[in-house]
């Protein structure tokens, strides 16, 4: 991108005047719908008014539309990444730039991540250049097992990143939760049950007096009302099989809970229970080491085995590295060629980073597939998107073509040759 275009994009970002959605058609593409189906040869996608109006083979392009010939390229829906810290962090180890933790805050469940999303953060620009168009941002490291209310965002270069604030509550119930609750899983479950009880009491008497022995601030307890009444999903981070079972058991006491399991390293050991419970999983992909005593059964076949057992599983919980989503998905395809391993078909694998997480997040009717009526989130790739060597050529979000320039691309341009010219490198911009 030229400097002028970049300045224009920056100006748009600063002035709050997002670029207008363009009506476009992308033709001759290897077209991926994102719903698990195989790629379509010579496919076309048409986007009008920021929405997909048609996608498939034999789609007629209306006259006068801007048409991009994607001959030799792949076209997919934008990637949807669930549970990441995008927008909360500039540099992980630079505290002032990092809003992903709040362990000294007086609140926990009430914390609302949508208040801190910075659409101009470089990690967003870099993830966007990697084809990520939507994300679920969470959790916060708080002083409690409750890690706050996550937000859904788009990665557009505009000032309005948040598409749904307070989309879910996030709770730690494994080793991390044990530590936060006072030292054991027993304590974590006691803290959780007490908190949900307090939320029920608030729900019953919103403005009334509270018990004298409450542990939560009113604000935190009130924040859990939508959880206990099933209006807001509860994302539960657990890894070991026993912890997953324990989490599923919560619905006996709190039947309205809308659970999502996050992490689930040993999910394959409880795949039938997960499938029977109809509880979706955002699984950390590819972990195959017993990194802790709650991950002893780790195997790369975890996702494939859960999917084969009928669990609604998508990839997620890779926090600070959303742009690795395609590589993770591609590795699950690789497993289909390894004896005794269980992977995903190409279509399933791509869906696991597009429509799959969109379904878990409850936004599959809006994003994650190139189907009529969905957002015009379109990514053009120079090759098979799940191949490590492939890269992104163009990105549209809501039909708006996105800048792919960022700190990294500017450095690349400057240092195409390391030698200095007539003036120092600092003049080369």
């Amino acid at each position: 991108m030229s400097r002028r275009i970049m300045l224009a994009a920056l100006a748009a970002l600063l002035a709050g005047t997002a670029a207008q959605a363009q009506d476009i058609a992308v033709t001759n593409a290897r077209l991926v719908i994102g719903d698990g189906s195989a790629a379509i040869e010579r496919g076309t996608v048409v986007v009008r008014g920021g929405k997909v109006v048609a996608a498939g083979a034999g789609v007629i392009v209306p006259a006068g539309l801007r048409t991009i010939d994607a001959e030799g390229k792949w076209v997919t829906p934008g990637l949807v990444v669930a549970v990441t810290d995008l927008g909360l962090v500039d540099v992980g180890a630079v505290d002032g730039s990092n809003d992903s933790g709040a362990d000294k805050a007086p609140f926990s469940a009430a914390l609302d991540l949508s208040t801190a999303i910075n659409p101009a953060a470089q990690p967003i620009a870099i993830a966007r250049a990697g084809g990520v168009t939507r994300a679920a941002v969470a959790p916060l490291g708080t002083g409690s097992i409750f890690a706050g209310q996550g937000a859904l965002i788009d990665l557009g270069a505009d000032p309005q990143p948040v598409t749904r604030p307070r989309a879910f509550q996030y709770v730690e119930l494994g080793e991390d939760g044990a530590k936060l609750a006072g030292g054991s899983r027993i304590a974590a479950h006691a803290v959780l049950r007490n908190a949900l009880d307090e939320a029920r009491e608030i729900a019953a008497l919103p403005l009334g007096p509270r018990r004298t022995d409450v542990l939560l601030t009113r604000r935190d307890a009130a924040a859990l009302v939508p959880v206990v009444t099933g209006r807001q999903p509860l994302y539960v981070h657990v890894e070991r099989a026993a912890d997953i079972r324990m989490a599923l058991g919560l619905r006996q006491e709190f039947p309205a809970l809308k659970l999502v399991i996050v992490g689930a390293t040993e999910g394959w050991l409880v795949a039938r229970e997960l499938a029977a419970a109809g509880v979706p999983v955002l699984a950390t992909p590819l972990g195959d080491l017993p990194a802790s005593f709650e991950r002893l059964g780790a195997t790369q076949s975890n996702v494939g085995r859960m999917a084969a057992a009928g669990v609604k599983v998508a990839l997620g919980a890779f926090f600070d590295q959303p742009r690795y989503a395609p590589q993770f998905a591609g590795n699950l395809v690789a497993l289909t060629r390894v004896p005794r391993a269980t992977g995903l078909t190409w279509g399933q694998a791509f869906a696991a980073i597009s429509s799959g997480p969109a379904e878990v997040l409850g936004i599959a009717d809006q994003v994650g597939t190139l189907k009529s009526g969905r957002a015009g989130d379109v990514v053009i790739w120079d090759g098979d998107p799940l191949e490590a060597g492939s890269g992104v050529v163009q990105v549209f979000i809501d039909g708006v073509e996105q800048p792919l320039t960022n700190h990294q691309t500017r450095l690349k341009d400057r240092y195409a040759s390391p030698a200095e010219g007539a003036l120092p490198k600092a003049y080369d911009w």
Partner: protein, 470 residues
């Protein structure tokens, strides 16, 4: 203990008795020279490798695409392993002399590479499970600890070794101390072979290395303790002071005046002698340039900068200094000194003619060094830098072997080298490919088709998923 070190120990003992026992002047002089001898002629290999290649049968792979590790590609090639060694690499029509009992493998549609080598691993010294009791990689009680040796921390039962073999085709790796210290200690190069002891994994004849670190880590660790170094200038001051001590120690040794061994200074003297290779964790270009001058100041060579996320800014300097950059493809932004990392780093270095090595520093990344390289290749291509597949494979094999000083033995498919070979089920630069078989010194140590031909560490026995595909 070998005879020489036994003699040295005896001499040291005699010296101890001599000084405490009120010896005559004549005896004392004699004993002093024994002490000097002991300090100079100590056993430099007191924990020697006990690794012995496992038995293998002659193997002929035919019809495969062969990347030889030194930049060559043979389509429809044949690779013959015999007596634990590479016996031949040839084109399709070659008439190879096959020993009796040769196992023939049809490699049609498959790929053969040398065993993959990771120059930067913490398998064993930060093993899984990563519990506090296993944190054995950083001796963070002193900013310079060249006296510690990573091999004394390596837990051979780390399940990570098997994952690196089965998924990454890793046949050799350097386990380094961490980067909390300016001089973190000696690294050790291992064969990726399961063993009860670390000695049973040590790569025979591999030189030792010294792990050094610039930048944020040492100054953060020691600044946090209220001691030096707390700044980058402090980092250099402490390093230089230590090198001055090492020079003095070496001079004393060479003048025959050294009477007491010092484990730390022995390691540094070994660096100054050129026997121990320096592997220097360093992110920023400006710091790497300063380290190169420090190496000149004290007369040592930096073999490789590790992580080296800004190497692309000084590819010309690195080429001139003949220093490798051991890099990731695209790690970025996790700390301030990683903020200028770019995915074209490897490609730009290649374009500048500097040495590129792809490394992991990660128990997961080591399982996918081939994909890391493929990412770097793709990003280079999009920047207009075309790196052929066979050259990219060199980043993971021969270049890595050179950085470790084991390139005479491994790192490429050349007759006479160790039979460290990976048969891949597709192009290793594709995400969809995995090792099908892995040989170390001609012994088949991983076979994806044979459930029993994969290592399962002691830790995994009786646990969920014992012997599972991983």
């Amino acid at each position: 203990m070998n005879p020489r070190s036994l003699l040295a120990a005896g001499a040291a003992l005699a010296f101890a008795f001599g000084t405490t026992g009120g010896a005559t002047a004549k005896d004392k002089k004699k004993d002093e020279s024994a002490a000097v001898k002991a300090a100079r002629d100590f056993d430099k290999n007191p924990y020697p490798s006990t690794y012995k290649p496992y038995p293998g049968q002659p193997v002929l792979i035919t019809g495969a695409t062969v990347f030889d590790g030194k930049g060559g590609q043979v389509d429809g090639g044949a690779v013959l392993l015999k007596d634990g060694r590479i016996a031949a690499v040839a084109g399709a029509m070659a008439d190879l002399d096959l020993p009796a009992g040769t196992l023939r493998i049809d490699g049609t549609g498959k790929f053969v590479t040398p065993g993959i080598i990771d120059v930067h691993s913490h398998l064993g010294d930060y093993p899984s499970p990563s519990v506090d009791a296993h944190e054995d990689g950083n001796e963070m009680t002193d900013p310079t600890t060249p006296n510690v040796w990573a091999e004394h921390s390596v837990w051979p039962q780390d399940p990570g070794f098997s994952r690196a073999l089965a998924n990454g085709g890793i046949t050799a790796l350097q386990v380094l101390p961490g980067s909390g210290n300016l001089m973190g200690g000696r690294g050790v190069t291992l064969k990726n072979v399961a063993s009860r002891t670390v000695q049973g994994m040590k790569f025979p004849g591999a030189p030792y290395s010294l792990k050094m670190a610039c930048g944020e880590n040492p100054k953060r660790v020691y600044g946090g303790k209220g001691q030096m170094p707390s700044t980058r200038m402090g980092n250099f001051a402490v390093n230089r002071k230590t090198w001055i001590e090492a020079q003095a120690y070496r001079r004393k040794r060479d003048e025959g005046k050294l009477e007491d061994r010092d484990l730390a200074l022995e390691t540094l003297a070994g660096v100054l002698d050129g026997d121990i290779k320096v592997h220097n964790h360093c992110y920023r270009a400006d710091e790497m340039a300063l380290v190169l001058d420090m190496a000149k100041e004290f007369g040592y060579k930096v073999t490789a900068f590790h992580h080296a996320v800004e190497s692309y800014k000084i590819g010309d300097l690195l080429k001139a200094a003949d220093v490798c950059s051991a890099v990731w493809a695209d790690w970025w932004g996790f700390k301030m000194e990683a903020y200028d990392a770019i995915p074209e780093n490897a490609g730009l270095l290649y374009k500048a003619g500097a040495c590129v090595v792809i490394h992991s520093d990660d128990e997961n990344g080591i399982q996918r060094l081939n994909q890391e390289a493929a990412k770097a290749q793709g990003d280079a291509r999009r920047a207009g830098i075309v790196v052929p597949d066979a050259e990219v494979i060199r980043w993971l094999t021969l270049n890595a072997a050179k950085a470790l000083g084991i390139d005479k033995d491994t790192g490429s498919l050349e007759a006479g080298k160790m039979g460290d070979v990976v048969l891949w089920n597709g192009n290793p630069l594709s995400t969809y490919s995995r090792p099908e078989k892995v040989w170390v010194d001609g012994a088949l140590l991983f076979d994806s088709a044979d459930p029993k031909r994969r290592p399962v560490s002691d830790f995994e026995l009786g646990q969920p998923g014992e012997g599972d595909v991983k």
